[in-house]
Protein backbone atom coordinates (compact mmCIF):
# COMPACT_ATOMS: atom_id res chain seq x y z
CA UNK A 1 0.00 0.00 0.00
CA UNK A 2 2.77 2.36 0.99
CA UNK A 3 4.80 1.57 -2.11
CA UNK A 4 1.83 2.20 -4.39
CA UNK A 5 1.43 5.64 -2.78
CA UNK A 6 5.09 6.37 -3.41
CA UNK A 7 4.64 5.18 -6.98
CA UNK A 8 1.63 7.47 -7.51
CA UNK A 9 3.62 10.34 -6.04
CA UNK A 10 6.47 9.76 -8.48
CA UNK A 11 4.12 9.44 -11.43
CA UNK A 12 2.59 12.80 -10.48
CA UNK A 13 6.04 14.41 -10.17
CA UNK A 14 7.07 13.07 -13.59
CA UNK A 15 3.79 14.23 -15.15
CA UNK A 16 4.37 17.67 -13.69
CA UNK A 17 7.87 17.84 -15.16
CA UNK A 18 6.60 16.66 -18.53
CA UNK A 19 3.91 19.34 -18.43
CA UNK A 20 6.41 22.11 -17.66
CA UNK A 21 8.81 20.75 -20.26
CA UNK A 22 6.22 20.64 -23.04
CA UNK A 23 5.02 24.14 -22.08
CA UNK A 24 8.57 25.48 -22.38
CA UNK A 25 9.04 23.65 -25.66
CA UNK A 26 5.79 25.07 -26.97
CA UNK A 27 7.07 28.56 -26.20
CA UNK A 28 10.09 27.97 -28.44
CA UNK A 29 7.99 28.65 -31.53
CA UNK A 30 8.75 32.04 -33.09
CA UNK A 31 7.04 34.79 -31.19
CA UNK A 32 4.87 37.29 -32.98
CA UNK A 33 6.10 40.83 -33.19
CA UNK A 34 5.40 42.82 -30.08
CA UNK A 35 6.92 44.89 -27.35
CA UNK A 36 8.71 41.88 -25.94
CA UNK A 37 10.89 41.47 -29.05
CA UNK A 38 13.88 43.53 -30.12
CA UNK A 39 15.85 46.04 -28.10
CA UNK A 40 19.36 47.47 -27.96
CA UNK A 41 22.33 45.26 -28.75
CA UNK A 42 25.90 45.49 -29.90
CA UNK A 43 28.01 43.31 -32.21
CA UNK A 44 31.64 43.44 -33.25
CA UNK A 45 32.58 44.89 -36.65
CA UNK A 46 36.01 44.90 -38.23
CA UNK A 47 36.56 48.51 -37.15
CA UNK A 48 34.80 48.50 -33.79
CA UNK A 49 31.41 47.92 -32.23
CA UNK A 50 28.03 48.36 -33.81
CA UNK A 51 25.76 49.68 -31.08
CA UNK A 52 22.10 50.00 -31.96
CA UNK A 53 21.75 52.92 -29.53
CA UNK A 54 24.11 54.93 -31.80
CA UNK A 55 21.64 54.59 -34.70
CA UNK A 56 18.60 56.38 -33.31
CA UNK A 57 18.40 58.60 -36.41
CA UNK A 58 18.40 55.61 -38.78
CA UNK A 59 16.09 52.77 -39.69
CA UNK A 60 18.17 49.64 -39.17
CA UNK A 61 17.59 46.58 -41.35
CA UNK A 62 18.89 43.51 -39.55
CA UNK A 63 19.46 40.04 -41.00
CA UNK A 64 20.94 36.99 -39.24
CA UNK A 65 22.74 34.41 -41.40
CA UNK A 66 26.19 33.08 -42.25
CA UNK A 67 28.54 34.01 -45.07
CA UNK A 68 29.09 30.50 -46.44
CA UNK A 69 25.30 30.15 -46.82
CA UNK A 70 25.12 29.41 -50.56
CA UNK A 71 21.56 30.37 -51.42
CA UNK A 72 19.15 31.77 -48.84
CA UNK A 73 21.33 34.47 -47.22
CA UNK A 74 22.74 35.92 -50.47
CA UNK A 75 19.24 35.96 -51.95
CA UNK A 76 17.80 37.90 -49.01
CA UNK A 77 20.77 40.27 -48.82
CA UNK A 78 20.86 40.90 -52.58
CA UNK A 79 17.12 41.64 -52.65
CA UNK A 80 17.57 44.04 -49.73
CA UNK A 81 20.61 45.75 -51.26
CA UNK A 82 18.98 46.02 -54.69
CA UNK A 83 15.85 47.62 -53.19
CA UNK A 84 17.94 50.14 -51.22
CA UNK A 85 19.80 51.10 -54.39
CA UNK A 86 16.51 51.95 -56.09
CA UNK A 87 15.24 54.20 -53.30
CA UNK A 88 15.73 57.97 -53.61
CA UNK A 89 19.12 58.95 -52.17
CA UNK A 90 17.55 61.03 -49.35
CA UNK A 91 15.53 58.00 -48.17
CA UNK A 92 18.37 55.49 -48.55
CA UNK A 93 20.63 57.73 -46.46
CA UNK A 94 18.25 57.18 -43.51
CA UNK A 95 18.63 53.40 -43.66
CA UNK A 96 21.41 51.27 -42.18
CA UNK A 97 21.51 47.63 -43.34
CA UNK A 98 23.30 45.21 -40.97
CA UNK A 99 24.20 41.54 -41.44
CA UNK A 100 25.05 39.53 -38.32
CA UNK A 101 26.80 36.21 -38.86
CA UNK A 102 25.82 33.43 -36.47
CA UNK A 103 28.87 31.43 -37.63
CA UNK A 104 31.85 33.18 -35.96
CA UNK A 105 34.00 30.04 -36.41
CA UNK A 106 34.07 30.44 -40.20
CA UNK A 107 33.34 34.15 -40.66
CA UNK A 108 36.12 36.48 -39.67
CA UNK A 109 35.47 40.21 -39.41
CA UNK A 110 37.59 41.24 -42.39
CA UNK A 111 35.76 38.79 -44.64
CA UNK A 112 32.40 39.95 -43.30
CA UNK A 113 33.13 43.61 -44.13
CA UNK A 114 33.75 42.74 -47.79
CA UNK A 115 30.75 40.40 -47.78
CA UNK A 116 28.40 43.18 -46.60
CA UNK A 117 29.76 45.74 -49.08
CA UNK A 118 29.20 43.31 -51.93
CA UNK A 119 25.42 43.53 -51.42
CA UNK A 120 25.27 47.26 -50.66
CA UNK A 121 28.05 49.83 -50.16
CA UNK A 122 26.52 50.83 -46.80
CA UNK A 123 25.83 47.32 -45.51
CA UNK A 124 27.70 46.62 -42.29
CA UNK A 125 28.48 43.04 -41.34
CA UNK A 126 29.76 41.66 -38.07
CA UNK A 127 29.53 38.86 -35.58
CA UNK A 128 30.34 38.11 -31.97
CA UNK A 129 31.05 35.35 -29.50
CA UNK A 130 28.72 32.36 -29.56
CA UNK A 131 27.60 33.21 -26.02
CA UNK A 132 26.62 36.73 -26.99
CA UNK A 133 24.90 35.58 -30.19
CA UNK A 134 22.92 32.97 -28.24
CA UNK A 135 21.41 35.83 -26.22
CA UNK A 136 21.02 38.36 -29.04
CA UNK A 137 19.38 36.21 -31.71
CA UNK A 138 16.34 35.05 -29.65
CA UNK A 139 15.86 38.63 -28.47
CA UNK A 140 14.61 39.32 -31.99
CA UNK A 141 12.55 36.14 -32.20
CA UNK A 142 15.12 34.60 -34.55
CA UNK A 143 16.84 31.27 -34.03
CA UNK A 144 19.46 29.04 -35.57
CA UNK A 145 21.10 25.69 -35.06
CA UNK A 146 24.20 23.97 -36.40
CA UNK A 147 23.26 21.18 -38.82
CA UNK A 148 26.03 18.62 -39.17
CA UNK A 149 26.18 17.54 -42.81
CA UNK A 150 27.90 14.24 -42.30
CA UNK A 151 27.46 13.03 -45.88
CA UNK A 152 28.33 16.39 -47.44
CA UNK A 153 31.60 18.18 -48.19
CA UNK A 154 30.06 21.20 -46.50
CA UNK A 155 30.94 19.88 -43.04
CA UNK A 156 28.08 21.73 -41.44
CA UNK A 157 25.45 24.21 -42.45
CA UNK A 158 23.48 26.51 -40.20
CA UNK A 159 19.72 26.19 -40.14
CA UNK A 160 18.30 29.61 -39.47
CA UNK A 161 15.24 31.78 -39.73
CA UNK A 162 15.40 33.96 -42.84
CA UNK A 163 13.72 37.19 -41.80
CA UNK A 164 14.55 40.82 -42.19
CA UNK A 165 14.07 42.85 -38.99
CA UNK A 166 13.09 46.49 -39.46
CA UNK A 167 14.11 48.62 -36.47
CA UNK A 168 12.68 52.15 -36.46
CA UNK A 169 14.48 55.38 -35.58
CA UNK A 170 13.50 54.94 -31.92
CA UNK A 171 15.34 51.63 -31.77
CA UNK A 172 12.08 49.65 -31.64
CA UNK A 173 11.42 46.60 -33.72
CA UNK A 174 8.79 47.99 -36.10
CA UNK A 175 8.26 45.02 -38.40
CA UNK A 176 9.71 41.77 -39.67
CA UNK A 177 9.59 40.56 -43.24
CA UNK A 178 9.69 36.90 -44.14
CA UNK A 179 12.10 35.89 -46.89
CA UNK A 180 9.32 35.88 -49.50
CA UNK A 181 7.98 39.30 -48.40
CA UNK A 182 11.23 41.23 -48.88
CA UNK A 183 10.83 41.82 -52.62
CA UNK A 184 7.15 42.89 -52.66
CA UNK A 185 6.99 44.81 -49.36
CA UNK A 186 10.34 46.19 -48.20
CA UNK A 187 10.34 49.46 -50.19
CA UNK A 188 6.84 50.43 -48.98
CA UNK A 189 7.64 49.63 -45.34
CA UNK A 190 10.78 51.78 -45.55
CA UNK A 191 8.92 54.71 -47.09
CA UNK A 192 6.58 54.70 -44.08
CA UNK A 193 9.43 54.81 -41.57
CA UNK A 194 11.55 57.51 -43.21
CA UNK A 195 11.00 61.20 -44.01
CA UNK A 196 10.97 62.58 -47.54
Amino acid sequence: MKSSKIFTFFVLIIAMFLGVFSYLNFNKTPASIGDQLGGDFSVTLEDGQFKLEDYRDKVVLLYFGYASCPDVCPTALALTGNILKKLPQAIAAQIQPLFISVDPDRDDLKKLTLYGHYFHPNMLAGTDTKEKLAKLVPKYGAFYSINNQENSAMGYSVDHTSRLYIIDKNGKLADTLSHADIQPNLANKLLLLTEK
Binding site: Y118, N147, S152, D159
Partner: protein, 140 residues
Protein backbone atom coordinates in the same frame (compact mmCIF):
# COMPACT_ATOMS: atom_id res chain seq x y z
CA UNK B 1 33.23 -9.77 -82.34
CA UNK B 2 29.60 -10.03 -81.43
CA UNK B 3 30.30 -9.18 -77.82
CA UNK B 4 32.41 -6.17 -78.80
CA UNK B 5 29.55 -4.97 -80.95
CA UNK B 6 27.18 -5.46 -78.02
CA UNK B 7 29.41 -3.46 -75.70
CA UNK B 8 29.84 -0.71 -78.27
CA UNK B 9 26.14 -0.64 -78.94
CA UNK B 10 25.21 -0.54 -75.25
CA UNK B 11 27.77 2.21 -74.68
CA UNK B 12 26.27 4.16 -77.54
CA UNK B 13 22.74 3.68 -76.25
CA UNK B 14 23.64 4.63 -72.66
CA UNK B 15 25.44 7.67 -73.89
CA UNK B 16 22.46 8.57 -75.96
CA UNK B 17 20.16 8.25 -72.95
CA UNK B 18 22.36 10.62 -70.96
CA UNK B 19 22.31 13.11 -73.83
CA UNK B 20 18.56 12.91 -73.67
CA UNK B 21 18.82 15.16 -70.68
CA UNK B 22 18.48 18.76 -71.75
CA UNK B 23 19.41 21.73 -69.59
CA UNK B 24 17.68 25.08 -69.93
CA UNK B 25 17.95 28.42 -68.19
CA UNK B 26 21.02 27.26 -66.29
CA UNK B 27 23.35 29.62 -64.45
CA UNK B 28 25.74 29.78 -61.52
CA UNK B 29 25.79 32.57 -59.02
CA UNK B 30 28.82 34.84 -58.85
CA UNK B 31 30.53 34.51 -55.46
CA UNK B 32 30.61 37.31 -52.90
CA UNK B 33 34.19 38.29 -51.97
CA UNK B 34 35.98 35.68 -49.89
CA UNK B 35 33.26 33.07 -50.38
CA UNK B 36 34.15 29.82 -52.09
CA UNK B 37 30.60 28.50 -52.17
CA UNK B 38 28.03 28.92 -54.89
CA UNK B 39 24.87 27.40 -56.30
CA UNK B 40 23.74 26.51 -59.81
CA UNK B 41 20.13 26.61 -60.89
CA UNK B 42 18.57 25.15 -64.03
CA UNK B 43 15.69 23.31 -65.59
CA UNK B 44 16.46 19.66 -66.37
CA UNK B 45 14.28 17.79 -68.83
CA UNK B 46 14.40 14.05 -69.37
CA UNK B 47 13.46 13.44 -73.01
CA UNK B 48 14.13 9.71 -72.80
CA UNK B 49 11.77 6.88 -71.86
CA UNK B 50 13.81 5.92 -68.80
CA UNK B 51 14.36 7.51 -65.41
CA UNK B 52 17.60 9.51 -65.27
CA UNK B 53 19.38 9.52 -61.93
CA UNK B 54 21.94 12.26 -61.19
CA UNK B 55 24.20 11.82 -58.17
CA UNK B 56 26.05 15.15 -58.36
CA UNK B 57 28.74 16.84 -60.37
CA UNK B 58 32.49 17.06 -60.76
CA UNK B 59 35.05 19.61 -61.83
CA UNK B 60 38.75 20.10 -61.19
CA UNK B 61 37.93 23.68 -60.21
CA UNK B 62 35.93 22.79 -57.09
CA UNK B 63 36.20 20.37 -54.17
CA UNK B 64 32.65 19.02 -54.48
CA UNK B 65 29.44 19.56 -56.43
CA UNK B 66 26.44 18.19 -54.55
CA UNK B 67 22.69 18.27 -55.00
CA UNK B 68 21.05 20.07 -52.10
CA UNK B 69 17.50 20.93 -51.24
CA UNK B 70 16.02 23.50 -48.89
CA UNK B 71 13.17 22.87 -46.54
CA UNK B 72 11.53 24.73 -43.69
CA UNK B 73 12.23 22.83 -40.48
CA UNK B 74 10.93 24.17 -37.15
CA UNK B 75 10.54 27.58 -38.80
CA UNK B 76 14.17 27.59 -39.96
CA UNK B 77 15.54 27.30 -43.47
CA UNK B 78 17.40 24.01 -43.54
CA UNK B 79 19.58 22.46 -46.25
CA UNK B 80 20.08 18.82 -46.92
CA UNK B 81 22.30 16.86 -49.27
CA UNK B 82 20.27 14.82 -51.78
CA UNK B 83 22.29 11.74 -52.82
CA UNK B 84 20.21 11.11 -55.93
CA UNK B 85 18.06 13.32 -58.09
CA UNK B 86 15.62 11.16 -60.07
CA UNK B 87 14.00 12.62 -63.15
CA UNK B 88 11.22 10.42 -64.47
CA UNK B 89 10.88 9.74 -68.21
CA UNK B 90 9.45 12.74 -70.03
CA UNK B 91 9.51 14.91 -66.89
CA UNK B 92 11.27 18.13 -65.95
CA UNK B 93 12.70 19.30 -62.65
CA UNK B 94 13.38 22.95 -61.93
CA UNK B 95 16.22 23.87 -59.61
CA UNK B 96 15.55 27.37 -58.30
CA UNK B 97 16.69 29.58 -55.41
CA UNK B 98 15.19 28.45 -52.10
CA UNK B 99 14.69 24.90 -53.38
CA UNK B 100 16.84 22.37 -55.22
CA UNK B 101 20.29 23.40 -56.40
CA UNK B 102 23.71 22.10 -57.32
CA UNK B 103 25.93 23.30 -54.52
CA UNK B 104 29.56 24.11 -55.32
CA UNK B 105 31.59 23.58 -52.17
CA UNK B 106 35.22 24.74 -51.98
CA UNK B 107 35.67 26.61 -55.26
CA UNK B 108 39.34 27.13 -56.08
CA UNK B 109 38.71 30.61 -57.41
CA UNK B 110 35.97 33.21 -57.31
CA UNK B 111 33.13 33.03 -59.81
CA UNK B 112 32.99 36.27 -61.77
CA UNK B 113 29.78 37.48 -63.43
CA UNK B 114 29.97 37.40 -67.22
CA UNK B 115 32.33 34.40 -67.29
CA UNK B 116 31.30 30.76 -67.71
CA UNK B 117 31.91 27.62 -65.67
CA UNK B 118 32.21 24.08 -67.07
CA UNK B 119 31.57 20.95 -65.06
CA UNK B 120 30.30 17.40 -65.48
CA UNK B 121 26.98 16.07 -64.31
CA UNK B 122 27.53 12.57 -62.91
CA UNK B 123 24.87 9.91 -63.35
CA UNK B 124 24.22 6.91 -61.16
CA UNK B 125 25.49 4.54 -63.88
CA UNK B 126 28.83 6.36 -63.94
CA UNK B 127 28.16 8.30 -67.13
CA UNK B 128 28.81 12.00 -67.39
CA UNK B 129 27.44 14.94 -69.30
CA UNK B 130 29.49 18.09 -69.55
CA UNK B 131 27.86 21.41 -69.09
CA UNK B 132 28.94 25.02 -69.47
CA UNK B 133 26.86 27.60 -67.65
CA UNK B 134 27.03 31.39 -67.49
CA UNK B 135 27.94 33.04 -64.19
CA UNK B 136 25.44 35.68 -63.13
CA UNK B 137 25.38 38.22 -60.34
CA UNK B 138 22.25 38.66 -58.25
CA UNK B 139 23.47 42.06 -57.11
CA UNK B 140 22.29 45.01 -59.21
Amino acid sequence: MKSILCILLSFFCQNLSAQQLTINEGYLRATPPGQMMSSAFMKLTNNSDQTIIITGGESSKVKAIEIHNHAMRDGMMSMEHIPQLRIAAGKSITMAPGGLNFMFIGLHKALVAGETFSFDLVFENGERQSLTLPIKSIVN
